[in-house]
C-alpha cells in the first residue's frame, strides 16, 4: 500500500472503536452492553422486511385497509401491531400502477422506514445509489435489473425530512385470490424500496 497517511496507519479497527465506546459507557453505569444485546436482537429479528410485507399483503386483500394506509400510513401500520419511532411522524405509502414506478432514496444520508421495510441494504447506503438515482433514475434501475417500459413514469422520493416512505408494489396477477399469509411471502424489501417489481 503506497503513500499511506500515517494517521490512517495508526487508526484503530472498527471493532476496537465499538468496544471503546461500549466499555466507556458501561464504566459509567449506563449498562450499554445489556442494551446493545437487546437492540442487536431488535435490529436483526424485529426490524425486518416481513413487517412491510404484511402491510402490503393486507393492502392487497383489504380495500378499506389500503385506503386507510394511503391516507395515513403511520396509523394504518399500527393496526397490524407495527410501530415507527417517535421522530418518524409520517409514513407516506406510494402506490405503484402499471404506468407509475415509485422509488425511494435518501441522498443526504440513508434514512428509511426501517421498522417497517427493514434496515436498508448495503447498496442503498452506498454513494453510487445516493448520487445517481435522482439524476439517472432509469439508467440506475436498468443496471439493477429493472427494465421499465418507456411509458412508465418514474417518481423518485428523496427522504430529506423525517417523513418516511414505502412503495406499495402491484400485486402480480397470478397471485390474485391467494390467502394473505401466502402473499406476505412474495413481497420483497427491494420492491418496497421501488428498485424491483414483483
Amino acid at each position: 500500500m503506497p503513500d499511506q497517511d500515517p494517521v490512517i496507519r495508526r487508526t484503530t479497527s472498527m471493532e476496537q472503536r465499538v468496544d471503546a465506546i461500549q466499555a466507556a459507557l458501561d464504566e459509567r453505569g449506563m449498562k450499554a452492553t445489556e442494551a446493545v444485546e437487546e437492540l442487536n436482537h431488535l435490529a436483526t429479528e424485529q426490524w425486518v422486511p416481513q413487517n412491510g410485507a404484511r402491510v402490503v399483503a393486507r393492502a392487497w386483500v383489504d380495500a378499506a385497509f389500503r385506503e386507510r394506509l394511503l391516507a395515513n400510513g403511520r396509523a394504518a401500520v399500527e393496526e397490524l401491531g407495527l410501530f415507527m419511532p417517535k421522530h418518524h411522524r409520517h409514513l407516506v405509502v406510494l402506490e405503484n400502477t402499471p404506468t407509475v414506478q415509485n422509488v425511494i432514496c435518501c441522498t443526504l444520508c440513508s434514512c428509511t422506514a426501517f421498522t417497517i421495510i427493514g434496515l436498508p441494504p448495503d447498496w442503498y447506503k452506498d454513494f453510487e445509489y445516493r448520487s445517481r438515482v435522482v439524476r439517472e433514475s432509469r439508467t440506475v434501475l436498468r443496471e439493477m435489473g429493472l427494465e421499465l417500459a418507456p411509458e412508465v413514469e418514474i417518481r423518485v422520493w428523496d427522504t430529506t425530512a423525517d417523513t418516511r416512505y414505502m412503495v406499495l408494489p402491484m400485486q402480480p396477477p397470478e397471485t390474485m385470490g391467494w390467502p394473505e399469509e401466502k402473499l406476505v411471502g412474495i413481497v420483497t424489501r427491494d420492491a418496497m424500496i421501488g428498485v424491483a417489481r414483483l
Binding site: 468496544d19 465506546i21 446493545v36 441522498t107 441494504p121 453510487e128 438515482v133 432509469r138 417523513t163
Partner: protein, 208 residues
Amino acid sequence: MDGIHDLGGRQGFGRVRYTCNAPAFHADWEVRANSLYAFAVRLGVFNMDEYRHAIERMEPRHYLTASYYERSLTGLATLYVEKGIVSREELERRADGLFPLAAPSAPGRTNVPTRGRFKFGDRVRVRLDYVPGHVRMPGYIRGKTGVVVSESPAYPFPDAHAHGVEAQDEPTYDVRFRSDELWANSADAALIHVGVFQSYLERFGGQS
C-alpha cells in the same frame, strides 16, 4: 453546509453494487454500532439532526472512504465527546490508537421568520440559502421551482435543532420537481420529490 455528504446529482460514481436481497450488515461490529446508536437515541443523548450533522462534519476524505457504519459510529462518538460524556482521550486509550472524530460545528440558525403556508398544487421555489451549519436542503434543489404534492406534520427545524438553537416545529412539504428542471438536458426523465421544510420555500412568482 455544502459538504461532501450532499451527493444527490453528483457525477462520477459508478454502478450500484446491487445484489438481490442484500444484507444490511456485513460484520458483527456493524450490528453493534447500529445498536449503540439506537441506545443513544433511547437515552436521548442527541436528536436526529445533531446526529446527522455530526456525520456531515466528518473530514471529507474520511467521510468518503468510510463505510456507512463507520460514519454512524464516528457521528455517535463525536457527540458523546462534545456533550462531555466521554473524552476523546479515554476513547483513544481504550481503543489503543487514533479514533477519528468529526470537525467542530459552525453556528446554526433559527426558523425563517416569514414563512409561507402552501397547499397541494402550489408552485414554490427553494430559496437561495447558504448555511454554514446543518441544513436538510440538498444542493440540487437550491433555487429550483416545483409543485407541492403533500404536507407532513410539523417537525423541529433542523437548521436550529442540530445546533441547540431554539427550533420551532414547522411543516415539511413534499415538493415535486421535474428532473429536466433540476439538471437541464443532463438527467433521465423523472419526477423527483423532496421533503422540504417550510423555511426553505417561497411562493414562486413573488410574495410568500
